[in-house]
């Protein structure tokens, strides 16, 4: 390094050179931070670290100062540094791992409830139901538009839920890396089954035995699944199983319809004359069906003899159909009740006019007015409120569902565990190993339960606004209860099979449930006129008239005109058509991208192998050429490293004679990127930054 002391040439470093220097320094810093993640021996890492530290310290100072003389000297040094870049490859760009992915899975279910809770102003318990809300158009000095806000919140939460679910699905799909849906059963057993923390020889022996057993089992299972004997019997059994399941489903649907009818009859006769069971029949029946039918399906599926993953998918599909059927039967029955209530309303309206007339004692003519007579609000006959009734039914359903879950947990899991543990001492057969043993924690069943619970909330939220808040409470309690139950009474499943390779299976179910549960609510909003006497929409002919009203009164006139043009069917239909076409187009391009992606992956692997082979060839040529040249600059350590790397090259066609001298590692400790074998493996698809900085 020459520092021109005598010459006062005011040479200033040009901005590009300064920029380059800064980049170089940043690169070195990044290299230092990623060194621990590199599969190099410690010597090499140490030397690299020290060199990089020196470089950074030297030049970081230069970037801050502005003196021209020093700058000239640094310029010279910098040019030398840039020319002789010791590392052939850029430090790999690392992609930080997205660990929020796990947190989001529950956020989908929780976000919804918390927001609705915050949006509703009043915090009193009676605000639970639709009927409480006043239909006054503007409340208070802020002119809060109550009916409008009720409507918009209801619709807005559904739209938000859709957005969140689809966004999560898209993110999961991205992470999957485009359709690699394999399960590496055997490979995982080979490569990941040994537990390196085992230090006890007995434990090691047990582990060996269990690994051997699992290998043999897996091989056997594989062979069984390839056997094709007696396919006709299997097919017949499967058809029979499906028939039985259909009978079950039909039976349960009819049962629910029957009890709902009966409960209507009881309601007409007056609820007080019936027992508790008869009053709560519908909810109890639905919950019990939800508990016992899946067990029945499990037993029936033994006939089918499917691979466990396929059997699990069938089971989940059937439970899905069961819940859906039950829910929709319930809703249809509810519709009947709604119609009943509306008839009641008509009758009441008629009676109201008669009642009012009786107040005036018939002293009025047809067209005269009279001073209003004050009547206490409690004396006015109230109209029946079908919306509140719907809300109440849903709340009762949720509550009974919760109670059933908790009771099943306590009896089915806890009591069973207690009995098995304590009766085992005085029982003829081993209760723990045979029947009944401890209950298994059923992951898929529990997830399905959560999804259906959410579906019920979506359905009832419009008519019972605080339902989501109740559900948040219930979810908290469930979480702690089940956490305790699983640690205390459950054993893990014997065979863990994921329902599908990707995380999107359950998300897709959630999306379907969202769609199916908002359908009834939307139907009622659009077709059934609101009650005349309760709720924020009373008096209107349809609930969505509130939008019309707002447009007319709160917005300027031209806005209303624009809106009416925009909602013209002549405009809306072509727009819908355009969207459908766009979806089709995007779908086909995404398919072709996935295909291209897979092909590129394969090509990359073939290319890397070819390059590896070529490089090995070149290396051998170099050995033979520089066979006698022992590098003067080579330090002893680099000889060691050279020897080690030589051992890890790609497939070589001939043995390297043991007396060969070290490869011509150029310039001492700086080893160029490509040559030594393993370092030139193509970078895996995602790089991860070491996630903790230990200090």
């Amino acid at each position: 390094e020459e520092e021109k002391v005598g010459e006062e040439k005011p040479e200033v470093l040009s901005p590009e050179e300064l920029e380059k220097l800064k980049e170089e320094v940043d690169e070195r810093k990044k290299l230092i931070s990623t060194l621990r993640g590199k599969p190099w021996p410690m010597r090499k890492k140490l030397l690299t670290l020290r060199e990089s530290h020196e470089f950074v310290e030297k030049y970081e100072g230069a970037l801050g100062k502005g003196k021209s003389r020093k700058l000239y000297a640094y310029k010279v040094m910098m040019l030398k540094a840039l020319m002789g870049r010791p590392y052939g490859s850029m430090p790999r760009k690392t992609v930080p791992r997205a660990d929020e992915a796990n947190a989001m899975d529950f956020a989908v279910l929780w976000d919804f409830g918390v927001i609705t809770n915050c949006l509703f102003g009043y915090a009193q318990y009676s605000v639970l139901f639709y009927g409480y809300y006043n239909s006054q158009r503007a409340i208070g000095w802020l002119k809060f538009r109550m009916p409008l806000s009720y409507f918009l919140v209801g619709v807005g939460t559904v739209a938000y839920s859709y957005m969140v679910v689809i966004r999560t699905m898209a993110r999961n799909a991205n992470e999957d890396g485009g359709g690699d849906n394999n399960s590496f059963n055997f490979s995982w057993k080979m490569f990941t089954s040994w537990d390196y923390l085992i230090g006890n020889p007995e434990t090691a022996d047990n582990k060996f035995a269990s690994i051997t057993t699992s290998f043999k089992e897996a091989i056997l299972e594989e062979q069984e699944s390839r056997k094709d004997d007696n396919i006709h019997l299997t097919r017949f059994l499967r058809v029979l199983a499906n028939f039985l399941v259909l009978c079950c489903l039909a039976g349960s649907g009819y049962l629910i319809y029957f009890v709902v009818r009966r409960s209507q009859k009881f309601a007409l006769e007056g609820l007080e004359s019936h027992s508790w069971w008869e009053r709560n029949e519908v909810n109890m029946v639905m919950s019990l069906l939800g508990m016992f039918c899946p067990m029945l399906f499990d037993v029936i599926s033994a006939l089918e003899n499917y691979h466990p993953r396929i059997a699990l998918q069938w089971q989940l599909g059937r439970i899905f159909a069961l819940f859906l059927g039950n829910l929709y039967t319930f809703i249809i029955a509810l519709m009947d009740e709604i119609n009943l209530k509306r008839e009641e309303e008509e009758v009441l309206k008629l009676n109201m006019t008669i009642w009012e007339a009786s107040l005036y004692n018939g002293t009025l003519g047809v067209n005269s007015t009279a001073p209003p007579i004050t009547v206490h609000p409690a004396d006015i006959p109230r109209g029946p409120c079908w919306e509140t009734m719907v809300g109440q039914e849903f709340v009762r359903l949720i509550v009974s569902d919760t109670m059933t879950t908790y009771i099943t947990l306590l009896i089915g899991d806890f009591l069973r565990a207690v009995l098995v543990r304590f009766l085992n001492y005085c029982w003829c057969w081993d209760l723990e190993a045979g029947f009944p043993s401890y209950s298994e924690f059923d992951v898929s069943g529990n997830v399905l339960g959560l999804i259906f619970n959410q579906g019920m909330i979506w359905m009832g939220a419009f008519y019972a606004p605080c339902l989501p808040a109740l559900n948040v409470l219930r979810l908290h309690v469930s979480m702690y209860l089940q956490c305790w139950a699983v640690m205390c009474c459950n054993v893990p499943q014997e065979r863990v099979f994921k329902a599908s390779g990707s995380n999107n299976f359950y998300m897709a179910m959630l999306l379907v449930i969202l769609f199916l549960s908002t359908l009834p609510a939307i139907y009622t909003i659009v077709t059934i006129p609101p009650s005349f006497d309760c709720g924020p929409f009373s008096g209107k002919s349809r609930m969505f008239d509130v939008i019309q009203e707002t447009l007319e009164s709160d917005f300027p006139a031209w806005f209303g005109k624009v809106f009416s043009y925009a909602s013209n069917p002549g405009l809306v239909l072509p727009f819908l058509l355009l969207m459908v076409l766009a979806i089709y187009y995007l779908q086909s391009t995404s398919k072709s991208y996935k295909q291209a992606n897979l092909e590129l992956k394969k090509k990359l692997q073939t290319v890397s192998r070819t390059i590896n082979k070529v490089l090995t060839l070149i290396q051998h040529l170099l050995y033979s050429l520089c066979g006698t040249c022992t590098d003067i600059v080579c330090s002893p350590e680099s000889k060691k490293k050279g020897g080690e790397h030589r051992a890890h090259q790609g497939k070589s066609n001939h043995q390297i004679p043991p007396s060969a001298t070290s490869p011509p590692a150029p310039r001492g400790h700086r080893i160029p990127g490509p040559l030594p074998g393993n370092q030139w493996q193509p970078a895996p698809s995602v790089q991860r930054v070491p996630n903790s900085q230990r200090h």
């Binding site: 923390l197 085992i198 090691a204 091989i219 692997q605 060691k640 393993n678 230990r694």
Partner: protein
């Protein structure tokens, strides 16, 4: 216990901490355990080496079926005898530590499983691997037919370019999707 013959210099300690996934306490503990393995004469050598037999006597490695391979992979000895210097030992502990990345773990796992050191896992490597995993006694080994079936299944699952061997990227592809690998590939002193 008394002080070991050579304490770790502070600047070296912070350098090691920057270059591995270990904390300072773990490095100091590693130094202590390593020094216990050294014989009296070796203590005063600048970069002492511990022979493989001594390393294999560590309780953490004693019951491991891959202990010899681990020593060979992390050893920087010219003579390929599996002896480790302290720095090699630190490399070992770093790769097996709790906070090591999946990439580093899978890289070293691949090298450990590569019994013939040729850069790929071929049928011979896989067979030796299975034999390691099923224990050394004859009655726990798999039959030839089972072995053949197993190896062909594995190659069917993992060998993407169908060349009959599993290379590093195919291996890392399989490992990255495994839920247990990171938690089982761990050694803590």
């Amino acid at each position: 216990m008394g002080t070991t013959a050579s304490q770790l210099r502070k600047d070296l300690l912070s350098e090691y901490q920057e270059l591995t996934f270990l904390t300072k306490q773990e490095i100091i503990l590693a130094h202590k355990r390593f020094s216990e393995l050294l014989s009296k004469e070796d203590r005063n050598v600048p970069t002492p080496r511990v022979p493989m037999e001594k390393v294999l006597s560590l309780p953490e490695l004693k019951s491991n079926p891959f202990r010899k391979r681990i020593c060979h992979v992390f050893s920087t000895s010219d003579m390929k005898d599996g002896s480790l210097t302290f720095e090699d030992f630190l490399d070992l502990l770093s790769a097996f530590s709790d906070s090591a990345t999946l990439e580093i773990k899978s890289h070293y796992a691949f090298r450990i499983f590569d019994f013939d050191d040729d850069g790929t896992l071929d049928g011979g490597d896989l067979e030796k691997l299975v034999n390691c995993l099923t224990g050394e006694t004859d009655d726990t080994r798999l039959t030839t037919e089972e072995m053949r079936q197993l190896i062909s299944n594995i190659l069917e699952e993992s060998d993407i370019d169908k060349d009959g061997t599993v290379n590093l990227s195919e291996f890392q592809h399989v490992i990255s999707r495994s839920p247990d690998f990171v938690s089982s590939f761990k050694i803590v002193l």
